[in-house]
């Protein structure tokens, strides 16, 4: 054991930053972990204190970054949580180096990933997640003058189209699979969320030069060695666009691997928590996308609640209860609005690879009775991503229940996995 803390927070996006800040401000010894090179999560990826003021919600980033820096919270970046070798201990890895960390209370803020649904050509170079392409641009990819088709589902599509436009790409079109009626309902509920409405409108206005079409989705991507064109449909006719990149993701799903490993009960696709964000696993709280895809505002509120609760200050936590409830309802409405439509189940052909790690085709999976049977017979989900991409797809395509999680929850060196659990007593909060 190299260190022990009252509170360990896994995931340094907005939810984790808020949780760590509040707990540290109350005097707890706190460590905030993230596998990325710096804090901020996906929504604040690439934000810098010198330039954030110019970005949407940059001032919120600056507020929380400043508050966190004024505490004694330790921030460990580049560390991946892979296992719990003993009660009150998490095992981490960075660049092949293993380390154990002790905790009294644990707050999980592991965020979400895009839902990827397979279609012919989705494994071609140049076909990426929508958030994936945006992340690469923030990571230094030069996107100037590239033609990009944005497709899939969810508010992320407009956000991505907007930031790619700013970065100099030519957005060929933005194609949202949700129906007009679903979005109209969503628009009405947005009226109760002024901040979000303004945000949506801003994205929309910036990208207005490109087509924004509802009720349309990708049918296939084609090209020699990389994507060269994309065919879309509205269910009646098909059309094709030439492009350099296809940015395609179907809303978001929570990263449940670590909560599941720690025994947190999952219901309806999310970690079940009480009013203080406590999961069914004693001493383990979950915040942000893990409890419902609600974005920045929800993550910040839930993070603060978990931070107060970790400090034993439940009364402060409860003052945020009404806000939390409103944001959770918003998350539920988003899930309904951007739920993938039936037609998307039919996109993959017999030869389409569903499991990208092990190259398992749709034909090999069709007719299997369960996720477990599919894994045993085809190696689907047993490659390096451990089912993070194909498991989510298979859940939708075949209706299989994907449950359970085994250590290591991320691919790690054998030496890290095999090290014996050290048994120092963690500091109790």
């Amino acid at each position: 054991m190299t260190a022990s803390f009252d509170v360990v927070v896994v995931g340094a996006g907005p939810g984790g930053m808020a949780a760590a800040t509040i707990a540290a401000e109350t005097g707890k010894r706190v460590c905030l972990l993230d596998d990325n090179a710096g804090p901020g999560g996906q929504v604040w990826r690439g934000f810098r204190t010198e330039t954030a003021g110019k970005s949407a919600h940059g001032s919120v980033f600056l507020d929380w970054t400043g508050r966190l820096q004024r505490t004694d919270c330790e921030v460990w970046t580049g560390w991946q949580a892979i296992d719990r070798p003993a009660a009150g201990v998490l095992r981490l890895e960075r660049n092949g180096e293993g380390r154990d960390i002790g905790f009294g209370r644990l707050i999980l803020a592991t965020g979400a990933r895009e839902r990827f649904l397979p279609f012919p050509g989705w494994t071609l170079p140049g076909v990426m997640g929508a958030g994936g392409l945006q992340a690469m641009v923030k990571a230094g990819l030069d996107p100037r003058d590239k033609r990009v088709v944005v497709a899939g589902s969810g508010p992320l599509l407009l956000a991505v189209a907007s930031s790619l436009t700013d970065a100099g790409t030519k957005i060929v079109g933005v194609y949202e699979q949700a129906r007009f009626a679903q979005l109209a309902c969503f628009g009405l509920t947005l009226l109760a969320q002024p901040g979000k409405l303004a945000e949506g409108a801003r994205y929309r206005l910036k990208t207005l030069r490109a087509a924004y079409r509802l009720n349309s989705w990708v049918v296939r991507a084609e090209g020699q060695g990389r994507v060269e064109c994309v065919t879309l449909t509205d269910g009646r006719k098909e059309w094709t666009h030439a492009c350099d990149w296809l940015a395609c993701g179907f809303h978001l799903v929570p990263n449940l691997e670590l909560p599941r490993l720690l025994g947190c009960r999952v219901a309806g696709g999310y970690v079940a928590v009480d009013g203080c964000q406590q999961s069914s696993a004693p001493g383990v709280a979950c915040v942000g996308e893990l409890t419902g895809i609600g974005g920045l505002d929800k993550a910040l509120v839930e993070g603060q609640i978990a931070g107060w609760a970790a400090a034993g200050r439940e009364s402060e936590a409860r003052t945020l209860g009404a806000q939390r409830q409103r944001l959770q309802r918003f998350a539920q409405r988003m899930d309904r609005t951007f739920a993938p439509r039936e037609e998307l189940r039919m996109l993959a052909s017999a030869e389409t690879h569903i499991c990208r790690c092990e190259d398992v085709t749709h034909a090999e999976l069709k007719g299997r009775g369960s996720w477990r049977e599919a894994k045993l017979h085809t190696r689907c989900g047993m490659g390096a991503c451990q089912g993070r991409v194909c498991g989510t797809a298979a859940e939708f395509l075949f209706g299989w229940e994907i449950s359970g999680s085994r250590p290591p929850v991320f691919a790690a060196r054998v030496s890290t996995v095999a090290a014996s659990a050290e048994t120092a007593d963690p500091v109790r909060g």
Binding site: D35, N36, A37, Q42, V43, W44, R45, G46, F47, R48, T51, A52, K54, S55, A56, G78, G96, R113, E114, F116, T123, P125, G126, V127, M128, G129, G131, G132, L133, Q134, A135, M136, V137, K138, A139, G140, L141, D142, L156, A159, V160, S162, S163, D166, A167, Y203, G225, R226, N255, H353, R356, C357, E358, D359, G383, A384, C385, R388, V389, A411
Partner: protein, 88 residues
């Protein structure tokens, strides 16, 4: 969501991707360099060329050999001068 892309400064340095030199700005992640080189990051078990996909460390398509170390997730890794990246 409008974050600041890593600044493309005139200074910067070169790395190689499958032997092809690519000039990158300080702070650029290796997966972004792989994409700018228009090279695959890995070959699948069936031999297909693959390139960065999720951009955030979960899909493992960007795994490549970096300076001789295999299976590095290049989307989480920042470039350093002279780095050699080879499709895994």
């Amino acid at each position: 969501m409008a974050g600041e892309p890593a600044q493309m400064k005139d200074e910067g340095f070169s790395i190689t991707v499958n032997g092809k030199p690519v000039r990158v700005a300080e702070g650029t992640h290796v997966a972004a360099a792989v994409m700018m080189a228009n090279e695959p990051s890995r070959y699948s078990v069936g031999g297909e060329a693959r390139a960065p996909f999720c951009g955030m460390g979960i899909c493992m398509e960007c795994r490549a050999t970096v300076d001789g170390v295999p299976q590095m997730r290049t989307c989480q890794l920042v470039c350093s001068p002279g780095m050699e990246v080879v499709a895994g």
